[in-house]
Symmetry: C2
Subunit: 311 residues, 2 copies
Amino acid sequence: MADEFARIAAYFAPLAGPEGRGLADDAAVLIPPPGRELVLTVDQMLEGIHFLPGDSPDLIARKLLRRNLSDLAAMGAAPLGYLLTTALPPATPESWLESFARGLARDQEIFGIKLFGGDSSSSLAQISLTATLIGHTARGAALSRAGARPGDGIWVTGTIGDAALGLAARLGKLADPTGYLTTRSMLPDPRINLPLAGIATAAIDISDGLLQDLSHLCKAANLGATLHAATIPTSPAAAALGPDYLESRLTGGDDYELLLAVPAANERALRTARGTLPLTKIGAFHPGEAVTVLDEAGQPMTFTKQGWQHF
Amino acid sequence: MADEFARIAAYFAPLAGPEGRGLADDAAVLIPPPGRELVLTVDQMLEGIHFLPGDSPDLIARKLLRRNLSDLAAMGAAPLGYLLTTALPPATPESWLESFARGLARDQEIFGIKLFGGDSSSSLAQISLTATLIGHTARGAALSRAGARPGDGIWVTGTIGDAALGLAARLGKLADPTGYLTTRSMLPDPRINLPLAGIATAAIDISDGLLQDLSHLCKAANLGATLHAATIPTSPAAAALGPDYLESRLTGGDDYELLLAVPAANERALRTARGTLPLTKIGAFHPGEAVTVLDEAGQPMTFTKQGWQHF
């Protein structure tokens, strides 16, 4: 592998925005957009924890950015750029870095972001990666996990549970003939274009699983919630697997869909704001503590686990 | 080890500033100081690469912050706060996290910074850590590695090479009877209080070794440089080891002293700005490419290696 400085020049300097100063200084310099608040988040992806050895470097790079972009989306923030750390075993081939940088470049284009800076190192055995994303919102407009009120509807973007099924497919535990579930697991769609300020009272992105992330919104607002299983949006690929996978879908992580609390009075504004983005109401918040899922007969369902942290 | 949410509540939420929103949201929210530019940097510390298994978690935490604070210092920026990632093997004891959080708290107090957010994960084998530091400067005042001019003096803060000798002592390769060199290796002093805007034409922190970091300043300005070995500041503990260690000191990393280019006309302002901080002129920039070190007889010295990336 080429030395650290040659690698930075070859693969990362071309990705840098002016804030990154050609990656030639000790730090990046950002002139904050006037009158805006900055929104900052960091997530890591570790080989063997967040991705499998042998996964495509291109897709690892894009998922690293997208997991962080999803956190910005949950705050109602628009992305500006990012800082990156890479720690790679010395035997990592140049082709790995080429593919990784290509993935970053592609998503930089899609999401309108630039590389601001970073740090690269060797590692003893596994690859470890982090991205720090910087976004911005209007003053006071950043969403929070707290803020849901009794009676607020529970809404989700997209379809739920595809990523967990996709991971199971990648591990050989179920069939994914179209590859749709696998793609959903490896290349999530951060919902960054949904203008939620003044519409949602609370928001979170579904990274730990629908039930666990819903319980975060409930705890933050000191409320309970009831979901109707039949209304939880299901992709055709997930539906084809039949009803046995419902628990996996509700407790599986990595969906990166948004979970929102929306008062009835704001539903019209939500429908206007969403554009073409699929949005589904799946339940409501109410006084109490429990998160309950009702089956089609209106009976509470029981699950053996609630959340998921990693594989 | 307690679960991720319990660990965050116990160890990290008490470190958070208001920007961190109790570490309960998907991202941090920062109102930029009016009229200022933000300066952003990230560095990682990996077990077996940047620290040794068994090193004190308190000192690992503080060095993680200080390496990043040193990058802000090299830009002339004042620190505001940081984002943190931790990846810990499942067997990591609670006492490790307690000590790590204590170290963060201590340096937060010393440097006036707060935790803004982060991400925690399990890891397969080694501990890996990153910190993203956010600082600020006046508009247009951030320093750069480029900008040195022929005739500018080369200045350094503190003493040079102690950290490399301290690492050698920790590895049993030399004696450090007072422990001074070991402390310099494990707990660097980021020089964040030196007002350099309008005084230095270029700056870098010495993380890769004096000669390598000087060559970065030279390349960025398309200049050469000559140093006088006898003027390079030496701690009493390093001096006690004798002259054989000069090469280790000039090529060893981890000093986190500042290396500055300062025109003669600004030397008076530099002496005023430094307060009680030791500052030494060790050479000058000139046209050319080479970095030359002259011995006391004025003869060029030769070294077997120039730089150092990690151990």
